[in-house]
């Protein structure tokens, strides 16, 4: 593959972001010990980078019930179970689209906001938790939850690492939908942030071209870029410029060029 770490994945968009993202990805690759990088390794990376104790990723597609796909330890499992049982808490709020960053679950405003969950979580030994949406615009895949025994905010760098990790998890989940087992080449999954609007415009266009959901449209776009060894935003640019259309056909993920 042409694209390896730190290559031309980024042009004029977010050089500092790229550094952070690459650093976290390298950390996840280390944790994978030569195996394909999965959500587990992204969680291991964010636990050390953001200075938290536990992490969990829950997927909530509208078609399926809430499913916790990874928990790093028993505390994370217990807290996810608690969220599921009680139907409230920062993870539930984060699924509505905004991060829910809770420095102290025992603080009065938290107890007021989550009257059942907050005391139960504190009882389980968690004092701070940070719930981050795993999403791209209208595509809401789920939530990454970070738990810490000690109360307190994440500092700026830790928060950035956490947000980048949630985006990495999002990219991995999208790519996993297309290729299972997960990629084994250690290639960094290109993320879909706000800095390349053409990626999101192209997603919208593919929704109409294929008659699929936004999530499937983005999965197809990413798969096409991967299969043709091209940058996501370049392929997206072709779609927006109407040099490339996606047509529903046998293979499903093959966009057909039309000029």
């Amino acid at each position: 593959m042409v694209l390896s770490f730190g290559s031309a994945v980024f042009g004029w968009g977010g050089a500092m972001n790229a550094d952070r993202s690459m650093r976290l990805w390298s950390l996840a690759v280390e944790h994978a010990h030569g195996r394909p990088v999965t959500i587990e390794h992204v969680c291991a990376a964010v636990i050390s980078a953001a200075g938290v104790d536990s992490a969990a990723v829950t997927v909530m597609l509208s078609a399926t019930p809430r499913e916790t796909i990874y928990t790093s330890d028993q505390v994370a499992s217990d807290l996810e179970e608690l969220t599921l049982t009680l139907g409230e808490g920062p993870c539930v709020d984060a699924f509505a689209g905004s991060p829910a960053l809770v420095a102290d679950l025992a603080a009065p405003d938290c107890l007021a906001r989550w009257p059942v969950f907050a005391p139960a979580a504190a009882q389980a030994g968690v004092r701070a938790m940070f719930a981050l949406p795993v999403q791209v615009g209208a595509i809401r895949l789920g939530v990454m939850c970070l738990y810490r025994v000690q109360p307190g905010d994440l500092d700026r760098g830790q928060l950035s690492d956490a947000l980048v990790s949630a985006d990495t998890a999002c990219a991995l989940l999208l790519d996993k939908a297309q290729r299972d087992p997960a990629r084994g080449d250690g290639r960094w999954p290109e993320q879909s942030g706000p800095h390349h609007p053409e990626v999101h415009q192209a997603t919208g266009m593919i929704i109409v071209q294929l008659g699929v959901t936004a999530a499937v449209a983005l999965v197809r776009l990413r798969a096409y870029a991967y299969a043709h060894d091209r940058r996501l935003r370049d392929v997206a640019g072709d779609v927006v410029a109407r040099r490339l259309r996606f047509a529903p056909d046998a293979d499903g993920d093959q966009g057909r060029g039309c000029s």
Partner: protein
């Protein structure tokens, strides 16, 4: 006269804030009013994504080349300098200033000669910048700079809504939400562009007029369009285009 206009804009913005309001729509209107009040050619708002990168969230025009010019400032340009220092940056004659070669070349190509950037400040933090472009070279006078800064402050207030902002995490929550709304709107633009054979700038205009005429929040309508739970009929579509 200018004062009456300014008062009208401030009243309009305050009215928007007390209604149930859409942050992207609010910021978009604010950039349009900047253009009118300050007599400039274009305005845009960039916010930090908390990974210290500036991202465009609203612009007075959705022309692709203009958006690209705003977005180019993720790593160099007056907005980056303004964001890093927290101070206004004003360049009356861009080519003569000889700064930011890549940005200057791109701005000149689009036809802009003067550029200004005003910080969006929240106490000691800078959360973004208001970026103003003019096709004519020249400085903004003191009065206009103050109006511009007032509008940048209104944008900050609007973004953070009426909530008591005393913790950075709430700022992050709001910024992240605004940035994701922007992505959502791009997705909806794509759907409309493809379905109605429009370019993406016209797709935005269609989305916005739809939200206005049905008194809907922009991001809510965008979500419904991306989900496919709602469709839009562009004016004149039935007669001017084959289906």
């Amino acid at each position: 006269m200018a004062e009456t206009q300014l008062a009208d804009v401030l009243v309009e913005m305050a009215d928007t804030l007390v209604d149930e309001f859409d942050v992207i729509d609010f910021l978009h209107v604010l950039t349009e009013r900047c253009v009118q009040l300050l007599g400039i050619s274009a305005a845009g708002l960039l916010l930090t994504d908390q990974q210290d990168t500036l991202q465009v969230v609203a612009a007075s025009s959705e022309r692709t080349r203009l958006l690209e010019l705003f977005q180019l400032q993720t790593d160099q340009g007056p907005c980056v300098d303004c964001f890093r220092t927290g101070q206004p940056v004003s360049v009356a004659d861009l080519p003569a200033a000889g700064r930011w070669p890549r940005f200057t070349a791109a701005a000149t190509e689009v036809g802009f000669a003067a550029v200004h950037a005003l910080p969006m400040r929240l106490r000691s933090e800078v959360i973004g910048a208001l970026n103003l472009f003019d096709t004519n070279p020249g400085a903004l006078d003191e009065g206009k700079l103050r109006i511009g800064q007032a509008l940048a402050d209104v944008a900050t207030i609007g973004l953070l809504q009426q909530r008591a902002i005393h913790r950075r995490d709430i700022v992050t929550e709001q910024l992240q939400t605004a940035l994701n709304s922007r992505i959502l709107i791009e997705q909806a633009k794509g759907v409309l562009a493809e379905r109605h054979h429009l370019d993406v700038a016209d797709a935005f205009a269609l989305l916005r007029s739809g939200a206005r005429s049905h008194n809907r929040r922009l991001s809510e309508l965008a979500q419904a369009i991306v989900d496919g739970s709602e469709q839009m009929i562009p004016p004149g579509d039935a007669t001017s285009r084959p289906s």
